[in-house]
């Protein structure tokens, strides 16, 4: 099939700085794993098809091709469309294998191309007919496919339709089928802007990609996939690194082949060969520029579009090309003499209009070696500002004599940190001065700060700092520690011994190492103490005492002559008194057993009865009182 001239990329968005780049692809080990899965011995025609055709798509060589051909011929069932499809397609992949075909076979295949067969059957029949070189009426097929799409709307069916259409004549009217690509694209699920896949799974997504590019290449029309969508599909298909079935492995292999060799979109994978670090000993930045199957794109031109220092954003490079060296693109960054630190590179891959995601951002580190120069140590008297003699120490030796500083003096240290290669002064992240008491094991660490001229100074005032040292006098070994992410040679240098004399020295307590991870002392739980209660005697006495006024009341009432002689034994009176007694009894029961709701319920009943009885009783009393005359 001859290809039409590719149309200009009208669907691709402008490659901005935030263009998506593939986060997953098939590395060489992934391809090897895929190949070994596909190379497993097969026992039926379908497995043979997946294995042989899959390996061919990965560019691998099929071993024992004669045996495979024998196998195909012996396993073939000429009455089954599927069997014919697998056998014929597999035979196309190996050389010198022809499946004999009879008129009945041809008729069976032609009969399968109708709107009554499933889409899968139509696709297999069309492919087998095409591979066998048998004539086929494209218009009929298109009619069957279009009718079938109405009935079978699922993703795999439409994918089969696309694959079938790609086997038809280029003069046929494939526009209707071509539009299905756009419909299917709309059905893809977007996961976090990174992945685009069908909910039917990996096989459906991978076969869709294969079919879309297969048909698009055949017709010569660019598929309606945006650049970001292509990369998202790449991420989805190649994120899974072990495959469950031969069919899944075959679909991934097909998609990989489609994405690396179609006429429209070829995603580019740019990775560093080794760490993205350059230094004097290793001045070149090495890049691997491949397609999704890790095949190098040797015809591409790779250049540094811009390189900016990460901190100052100043531009170091612009439009600098990489050189191709044995499949690896190299660039000598150190020749631009960059200062140590981090740089943001924007790398562009050009040379082929089909390249997708061809602009990559990369963070490159330039590391260097540091040297300590002009290390001057001195002990200065606080009273006079006359500096006492300064001792110069050279790295890595140690000062011969130790320095003594007591409360009237302070110890001073000054030095410079320079880049070994360029002589530029450096200010690394970590510049510490560590004093270590050899006897007690105590160590104190200070930070050395640079002044405006990048000269590091450190002063130890014994009187001021005695709390850090716990006022323990003695000999301390002084070390300088220099470190940074961009330094290749961190420094730990025992510069000198310093004897510190503190006043108010307490008896040196043995310094215990920080007991952070030792079990802590157990906390005894204090249970809630019961309240202090008075002795039982007192409370009993008062209980009796409180009952005493009641006795007094009874005595007084007796003395006054209160009596119940007026008690009329009428039903309402009895009922009232019984009800009233019941209410008082209810109060007691409320205290011991019931809750408010139950009490209110009973109270309503008893109270109601008592009220009615009492009302009658009191009315009777009132009538009697009125009869007596006092109304």
């Amino acid at each position: 099939m001859t290809a039409h001239t590719p149309h200009p990329r009208k669907y691709l968005a402008l490659a901005g700085a935030q263009a998506l780049t593939p986060s997953h692809h098939l590395s060489l080990s992934d391809v090897a794993r895929l190949q070994s899965l596909l190379s497993q011995p097969f026992t039926d025609l379908e497995s043979a098809y997946y294995s042989v055709v899959g390996l061919t798509k990965l560019g691998a060589v099929i071993p024992d091709q004669n045996e495979v051909c024998h196998f195909l011929k012996s396993e073939l069932d000429p009455a089954s469309v599927d069997s014919l499809f697998f056998a014929v397609e597999t035979s196309q992949a190996i050389s010198g294998c022809e499946i004999p075909v009879s008129n009945e076979t041809r008729d069976i295949l032609l009969a399968a191309v109708s709107e009554d067969s499933t889409m899968g059957q139509i696709h297999r029949a069309v492919s087998a007919l095409g591979s066998l070189g048998l004539p086929l009426a494209s218009q009929e097929v298109i009619g069957a496919l279009t009718a079938r799409i109405e009935k079978e709307d699922n993703v795999m069916a439409i994918t089969s339709a696309l694959l079938a259409a790609s086997r038809l004549s280029q003069q046929a009217e494939l526009g209707g089928i071509l539009e299905e690509i756009e419909d299917l694209t709309a059905r893809l699920d977007d996961l976090g802007g990174m992945y685009l896949q069908f909910e039917e799974g990996l096989e459906a997504t991978a076969m869709f990609v294969t079919a879309a590019y297969s048909l698009s290449d055949h017709v010569g029309v660019e598929p309606p996939l945006k650049e970001d969508q292509v990369i998202q599909l790449v991420n989805s298909i190649f994120s899974k690194k072990s495959w469950d079935s031969l069919a899944e492995a075959f679909s991934v292999a097909s998609a990989a082949a489609a994405l690396s060799s179609n006429q429209f979109h070829v995603p580019v994978v740019v990775r560093t060969h080794g760490p993205a670090t350059v230094s004097h000993s290793q001045p070149t930045l090495q890049l691997l520029v491949t397609d999704v199957m890790s095949q190098p794109l040797t015809s591409a031109n790779v250049l540094v579009e811009s390189a900016n220092a990460a901190s100052s954003k100043s531009s170091i490079l612009s439009q600098a090309p990489f050189t191709l060296n044995d499949g690896i693109f190299e660039f000598n960054f150190m020749s631009s003499q960059p200062a140590s630190g981090y740089y943001q590179f924007t790398i562009a891959v050009t040379g082929d209009k089909r390249l997708v995601a061809n602009q990559v951002e990369l963070k490159v580190k330039v590391s260097t070696e540091v040297a300590v120069t002009n290390m001057d140590l001195s002990v200065v008297d606080k009273d006079q500002s006359i500096g006492t003699k300064t001792t110069r120490v050279d790295y890595p030796s140690k000062a011969k004599s130790s320095f003594v500083a007591d409360s009237h003096q302070y110890f001073a240290m000054a030095f410079q940190l320079v880049d070994v290669n360029t002589g530029v002064e450096l200010t690394p992240h970590q510049t510490f001065v560590r004093l270590h008491n050899q006897k007690t094991g105590q160590e104190v660490v200070f930070v050395a700060e640079p002044d405006s001229k990048n000269l590091y100074k450190f002063e130890l005032d014994t009187a001021e700092r005695k709390s850090e040292f716990d006022t323990i006098s003695g000999t301390y070994s002084l070390c300088l520690i220099v470190g940074d992410a961009t330094l290749e040679n961190p420094i730990l240098w025992n510069v000198a011994d310093v004897v510190l004399k503190f006043v108010d020295e307490e008896a040196p307590a043995t310094i215990q190492p920080k007991t952070l991870y030792v079990p802590k002392p157990e906390i005894q739980h204090l249970f809630r103490e019961p309240e202090k209660k008075p002795p039982t005697v007192v409370s009993n006495a008062f209980t009796a005492l409180v009952l005493f006024p009641f006795l007094l009341l009874l005595i007084l009432w007796f003395k006054l002559g209160a009596n119940i002689s007026n008690f009329r034994l009428s039903p309402s009176t009895v009922l009232f008194h019984v009800g009233h007694a019941a209410m008082l009894g209810l109060m007691y029961v409320y205290w011991t057993h019931l809750d408010m709701f139950q009490t209110l319920k009973y109270l309503a009943i008893i109270g109601g009865v008592t009220f009615l009885a009492g009302n009658r009783m009191l009315a009777q009393k009132a009538v009697k009182r009125c009869e007596k005359g006092i109304c």
Binding site: E531, K533, P534, F542, F548, L556, W591, M596, A622
Partner: protein, 113 residues
Amino acid sequence: MSNSVISVISRFLEEYTSTTPTKLKVVDSYLLYILLTGALQFLYCLLVGTFPFNSFLSGFISCVGSFILAVCLRIQINPQNKGDFLSISPERAFADFLFAHTVLHLVVMNFIG
């Protein structure tokens, strides 16, 4: 000075015993009983502390509430005050007294713990 106090008190007691109707004296002795009970409760609380506070409060408020309701009853059934309580007969006063006591006892029993 003390003489006049004693004489005032004795005069008061004399008048009280002679002029007060028995009915009211019955209520007055009830009032005395309530007062003594409340005082004893308070004394106990001062001596041994307020634990448990809710019980003390409920007992004390019971005494105070009963005292107040009894005073109301006494005022309402006093024949000398009949002019002020034309619509409230003694029986009605007693019925109110009983009802208020029911509510008071409900609250006290709830709070006694």
